[in-house]
């Protein structure tokens, strides 16, 4: 299934039109004059040739609108008519040709009032990959407008109880194209993508003990890479992808260790009678933030990747867990307990600027999108447990998982 998706990805032809060559020199057109949001008008998609296909046209409009509104940069308007109002700053034009099993697209981003074409691309894909193609052009728009590509064509891995057991699933960021990865009927937890996005590690009870497994997405091949007595949990790939930091309790209590991705132990990084777990790497690989209750209650700590220079990161809140370093390295997102639930906080790696960014429901397990713009998290609110996405400042919270199952433990893939 997965390999099929990858295949169709490779089959996806991306042809740059000559018009896309210019318009790259001035990034950061994030706001219009007076700091107002740019108004982006999506014109009704038109057939390049052949029949009008209202399903395809509707999908294109809906996906662009959702992606680009999620960025928070644009006020997105799906126009009913073929012309944009003169208040628009940007115009998004889409054309399509639907054949028996394939679709060809032409997307253009036009600056107003100059009429300059900022970006134009042609794609062709199988009919099943329409969503992916539109997400890809959304990512391109962000690249062109800000210099940082978007994450909309990448995937979320998460844990769902759809079968009655906790299995690992994969879906688009907006909840479409969900598919089951594991099917072992056991408890599977904590997926974490490799930096290549081609594999992930997770903890599974499928052999009785909470062991760490590594799974190749292309092949579905699974290897048990850490099965020490006790827990083998919270595995996190190092930025270069060859090492994994994880928590094991084989030496008495939960400590953080470094292993190769094949499972060979390289080092023990913590050594004290407290619980140490949930390691997260700085993007340069030099530091690891983690959770420890060595001072009584779980708090965030920081150390060098060799276990030296340990210092406390969070100094307020009685119970702080689940840290994740931002892709840019400037922030660490984590969860703080309030009453019987959690809210998401951001803190700088030097311990400054500790700030709460969610206030509703019970929110856990925050993970960054690859560009650092968004945070995906599991939330219990309105009586259900679902996957939500928000901007990194806490705004724009949106439920993205679609089933009635309990969905949790999300993590956002790298670009692939």
């Amino acid at each position: 299934m997965i390999s099929k998706i990858f295949c169709s990805l490779f089959l996806l032809l991306i042809l740059l039109l000559p018009a896309a060559v210019f318009g790259q020199e001035d990034f950061l057109r994030v706001t219009a004059a007076g700091n107002r949001q740019l108004i982006l008008s999506i014109l009704p998609p038109k057939p390049l040739s052949g029949e009008l296909n209202s399903k395809v046209a509707g999908d294109i409009t809906e996906i662009f609108k959702q992606d680009l509104a999620m960025t928070g940069i644009y006020q997105v308007i799906a126009e009913e008519q073929g012309n944009a109002p003169f208040t628009s700053d940007l115009l998004l034009k889409a054309g399509y040709t639907v054949a028996a099993t394939s679709v060809t697209f032409e997307f253009r981003l036009v600056e107003l009032p100059s009429g300059k074409e900022l970006l134009a691309k042609r794609y062709s894909s199988s009919t099943q990959d329409i969503r992916r193609v539109v997400h890809t052009f959304s990512d391109e728009i962000l690249q062109t407008m800000t210099g940082e590509r978007g994450p909309f064509a990448s995937k979320l891995a998460y844990v769902s109880t759809a079968t009655g057991n906790k299995e690992i699933y994969l879906m688009d960021w907006d909840g479409y194209n969900g598919r089951k990865l594991t099917a072992n009927g056991s408890i599977n937890l904590n997926p974490d993508f490799s930096p290549s996005g081609k594999e992930l590690v997770f903890t599974s009870y499928k052999n009785g003990n909470p062991d760490l497994y590594r799974r190749e997405l292309f092949t579905g091949t699974e290897a048990r890479i850490s099965s020490a007595p006790g827990i083998n949990i919270t595995g996190a790939y190092s930025p270069e992808g060859n090492r994994i930091a994880l928590a094991m309790s084989k030496d008495g209590n939960s400590e953080i260790y470094l292993i190769t991705k094949e499972g060979k132990q390289l080092a023990r990084l913590t050594n004290n009678p407290a619980i140490d777990l949930s390691p997260t790497w700085s993007p340069d690989g030099k530091f690891i933030a983690f959770v420890s209750d060595r001072l009584g209650k779980p708090q965030l700590f920081m150390m060098r990747f060799d276990g030296s220079e340990v210092r406390r990161l969070t100094t307020s809140g009685a119970y702080n867990v689940s840290p994740r370093w931002s892709p840019k390295g400037d922030k660490i997102v984590y969860c703080r307990q309030y009453g019987s639930g959690f809210q998401i906080h951001l803190i700088n790696p030097d311990g400054s600027d500790d700030k709460q960014i969610t206030f509703e429901g019970n929110n856990e397990h925050p993970r960054w999108s690859v560009d650092g713009r968004f945070i995906v998290f599991g939330s219990k609110r309105n009586g259900s447990e679902s996957i939500y996405v928000m901007r990194a400042d806490g705004s724009g919270q949106m439920k993205t998982s679609r089933g009635s199952s309990k969905d949790s433990h999300p993590t956002w893939s790298p670009r692939w």
Partner: protein, 217 residues
Amino acid sequence: MRNAFLKSIVAFSLPLVFLSGCAKDQVKPDEGISPEKSASAAVAKKEAALVKPTVDNSAAEKAAADRAAAEKAAADRAAAEKAAADRAAAEKAAADRAAAEKAAAVTLSLKTVYFDFDSYILRQPDRDTLYKNAEYLLKKYKGKVKLEGHCDERGSDEYNLALGENRAKAALNYLVTLGVPSDQLSVVSYGKEKPVDNGHTEEAWAKNRRVEFTVVK
């Protein structure tokens, strides 16, 4: 299984004993012996015959007798095998049932212990419970037992996996200090993955912060 193995050893070694000891007269085919065993006996005998050529005749006689026995056995075999399979299945089912009942009884006798929030310290009532569990393990049940550590839903799922294990290990260590052999005990943590009460009240949480005892099959 073990019985059959012993029988085949006996069958294998009997002729050797006879050959080396009181060479000639006996070696009657045993009606009860299966073809396979007879064959191996014949092989054993042949090998022995190479060493002691004097027994060639009796070896040939025995081989003939074995063949006859084999034919008779083959005639009975299908029915016998079916009966044996049925019997084995029934026995296994009965044994499984008995084992499950026994495990349930043991699990019932080993009482669950409970903890405060974010704590793996054993309180006095739980020490008393563990004392009774230790007595049971020392006097009545010598089989292997697993201690499952659990947490309530309020802690983080990751931290709770470690906390649940600390709870199970605290209980295990106390049992060991009371004299229960450590190789009789093992631990596993389920964090907050297996609550007994899905409620969101203090009462439900208190029920979920626990170490349960299960019999290892």
